[in-house]
């Protein structure tokens, strides 16, 4: 089977594909590699702090005790605007409370045990999410690159008339240009649904500042929260006058009693200790792509309804499905392993794409020694730099300067091979000059 694109269309498509790939390749590769690693976000957190208390579940009364303990520990400081209780899940069987100023693990009785130490996992997430840049610029940049994967996928399909006929042809053992091309095309074809899913969801998340900002400017007087309220619900009017600590225990008991089929994994307290405080419980719905449903409660733990992410409009359900579909956390370890496999494949597609361009360039007689050295440096350097930061985490601890280590290692990984290639070229050139001079000397004598 083959698509009937005209030869000229195919040629233009490959030119467009090459241009897009060249503009994007370096950061796209970084985003693919870090995206592959961040699939194991929860597992990395466990690895970073092996001695944190773990439990398969926690009693509602213990959750309430933990909330009170944490708020008590902050009683002489500024009040937190939000308090998040991460409840134990299969992937991350820990109870962790996060406020505006701290994050602590608690035990099954609700006692604070230790501060959360997951700086490396957070660094990795920030690297993938926003390239360690401020959110506005970083997320937008990553979103733009996500959209470019869509463009590369479309142009790649148009540029490949024998896409199905060759779908199982992989002449890897030739170890030449043909093998590189086969790796690129075959992996690209079979990762196409995955690539489209993660790039569209990634671009949807990353381009929020563009699309959501545009929406807010056009329809909501620039208020982004108002633009999102129809989808994710709105925040009730605040009232900062003092009030008692909200009671999460009845809310959690209500969930157990009324919604036994769902799995609560977050309790969120909004403006705790004020008259305007309220609670939300996020619960996972098994065998759904949505990240969960918001269940709203007042400070006394009385139920006030859901937002509609699980059973609301198509748009709400679609929007709530982007995160899990992107990060691959909707089917336990098997789905995570599949995402890692496809993530590696996609990284190989990006890497080999540039090698194909370099091969073509060299076939046209243009030397690409330094460019090839730089690309090899990046391809090997990004995962190596990630490993280096992980080693730094193990050796230097939670406060290691991961961002500096990673980016310096990446720059060196690109520069050192280029310098080595330059020296090799200079040495070769000197030898040629010497040989030429020697020949002239022989001729003269």
């Amino acid at each position: 089977m083959s698509f009937a694109f005209a030869k000229e269309t195919v040629r233009k498509a490959i030119s467009a594909h090459s241009a897009l790939g060249l503009v994007c390749c370096a950061l796209l590769y970084l985003i693919c590699v870090t995206g592959t690693a961040i699939v194991l976000y929860e597992e990395w957190q466990r690895f970073e702090q092996l001695d944190a208390p773990e439990m398969s579940q926690i009693e509602p009364a213990a959750v309430q005790r933990a909330i009170e303990n944490v708020l008590e520990s902050e009683s002489d400081g500024p009040s937190t605007t939000h308090l998040y209780v991460h409840l134990p899940t299969a992937d991350l069987p820990r109870t962790t409370i996060t406020t505006d100023t701290q994050a602590v693990h608690v035990d099954a009785q609700g006692e604070v045990v230790a501060p959360e130490e997951n700086a490396w996992a957070e660094f990795l997430l920030a690297l993938h999410y926003r390239l360690n840049l401020p959110a506005l610029y970083g997320m937008t940049l990553v979103g733009l690159f996500g959209a470019m994967i869509v463009a590369l996928a479309v142009s790649g399909v148009v540029a490949h008339p024998r896409i199905f006929r060759d779908a199982f042809r992989l002449r890897a053992r030739r170890a030449d240009d043909v093998a590189t091309m086969d790796w690129h095309n075959r992996l690209a074809v079979w990762t196409l649904p995955f690539a489209l899913a993660i790039s569209l969801t990634g671009a949807m998340i990353g381009l929020f500042y563009v699309s959501g900002g545009g929406l807010a400017a056009a329809g909501y007087g620039g208020d982004s929260e108002a633009a999102l309220a129809p989808i994710f619900g709105d925040e009730p009017e605040g009232d900062s006058s003092p009030a008692g600590i909200p009671n999460a225990a009845p809310a959690l008991a209500f969930m157990e009693r009324e919604y036994p089929e769902v799995e609560p994994y977050y309790v969120i307290l909004h403006d705790p200790g004020t008259a305007g405080q309220h609670m939300q419980i996020i619960a996972e719905h098994p065998r759904r792509l949505i990240f969960g449903e918001y269940y709203a409660f007042d400070a006394a733990g009385d139920f006030h309804g859901t937002v509609g992410l699980a059973d609301g409009t198509v748009g709400q359900q679609l929007s709530a499905s982007t995160y899990n579909l992107h990060f691959g956390n909707y089917g336990g370890l098997p789905v995570k392993i599949a995402y890692i496999l496809f993530g590696i494949a996609l990284s190989v597609v990006v890497a080999t794409g540039t090698f194909i361009w370099l091969d073509k360039r060299e076939r046209r007689g243009k030397a690409s020694t330094r460019l090839r050295a730089a690309w090899w440096g990046l391809v090997a350097g990004v995962p190596a730099a990630l490993v280096l930061t992980l080693v730094a985490r193990l050796v230097l601890g939670n406060t290691a300067p991961f961002v500096a280590i990673f980016w310096i290692a990446c720059v060196l990984a690109v520069l050192l091979p280029v310098i080595a290639a330059q020296r090799s070229l200079s040495g070769q050139s000197n030898r040629e000059v010497a040989a030429s001079a020697g020949m002239r000397g022989i001729e003269a004598s």
Binding site: M1, V10, R11, K12, I14, S15, A16, S18, A19, V23, G146, A147, I149, V150, A151, V154, S155, A159, H160, R162, D166, A167, L170, A172, R173, R174, D176, V178, M181, R186, T191, P193, F194, A197, S199, L200, M204, F208, V210, S211, G212, G214, L215, A218, G219, L228, R287, R288, L289, T313, G315, Q316, L318, S319, L325, G331, V335, L341, F342, R364
Partner: protein, 192 residues
């Protein structure tokens, strides 16, 4: 039938589909019945997954299809190949880059396919939002349409623009889309 059992059945159809297509595409001559059988098995697998667990089932089954294909590729990668002389790969687009491209500003191409096309895509997405609201659609759906349309419309438009040989065509498409969509900006406050 039990949803779990249906998911396993979906996986079996998915694996069968990949195996049949592997057999079909590996033949010297094209076989329409085998192609249809392969694609049919994949479709049945996806339909069963949808019945068992909706979009979650489809997502998982697509992963099964991809993993099965990668396993088939791993087998292909290990097979010995004829070690002929090293040569340039024969592809449909061989020599495409040897054609001297029409000389034009890369910066302007970048500007047209990048920010201008992104702006036009945003206007297009906002026009879709207005149409959904006009049609009595929910505000949530209309807003999500904006968030979901931009990441699709922009890369497709950018690719289409890069395929165009004439600069005038590029501007005509970008400005045309923007001009057609811009009037809908006046109706962004409309909710039904």
């Amino acid at each position: 039938m039990d949803a779990g059992l249906l998911m396993w059945l979906a996986a079996v159809f998915a694996l069968t589909g990949v195996a049949v297509l592997r057999m079909s595409w590996g033949r010297a001559t094209r076989s329409t019945p085998l192609n249809l059988a392969g694609w049919g098995a994949l479709l049945v697998g996806l339909a069963l997954a949808d019945r068992a667990a909706g979009e979650w089932g489809i997502a998982v089954t697509v992963l099964v299809i991809g993993a099965a294909a990668l396993a088939a590729l791993a087998v292909a990668a290990c097979k010995p190949v004829n070690r002929g002389p090293r040569k340039a790969p024969r592809t449909a687009h061989r020599g495409a880059n040897e054609i001297k491209p029409r000389s034009r500003s890369g910066l302007l191409t970048f500007t047209v396919a990048g920010p201008l096309a992104l702006g036009a895509s945003l206007l297009f997405a906002l026009a879709i939002r207005a149409l959904i609201l006009f049609g009595g659609g929910a505000e949530a759906d209309a807003n999500v349409a904006v968030l979901a349309t931009v990441p699709i419309a922009w890369p497709v438009l950018a690719f289409a623009l890069l395929m165009m040989s004439r600069r005038a065509d590029q501007f005509a498409w970008v400005l045309g889309i923007a001009a057609l969509a811009a009037p809908f900006l006046m109706f962004q406050g409309t909710t039904v």
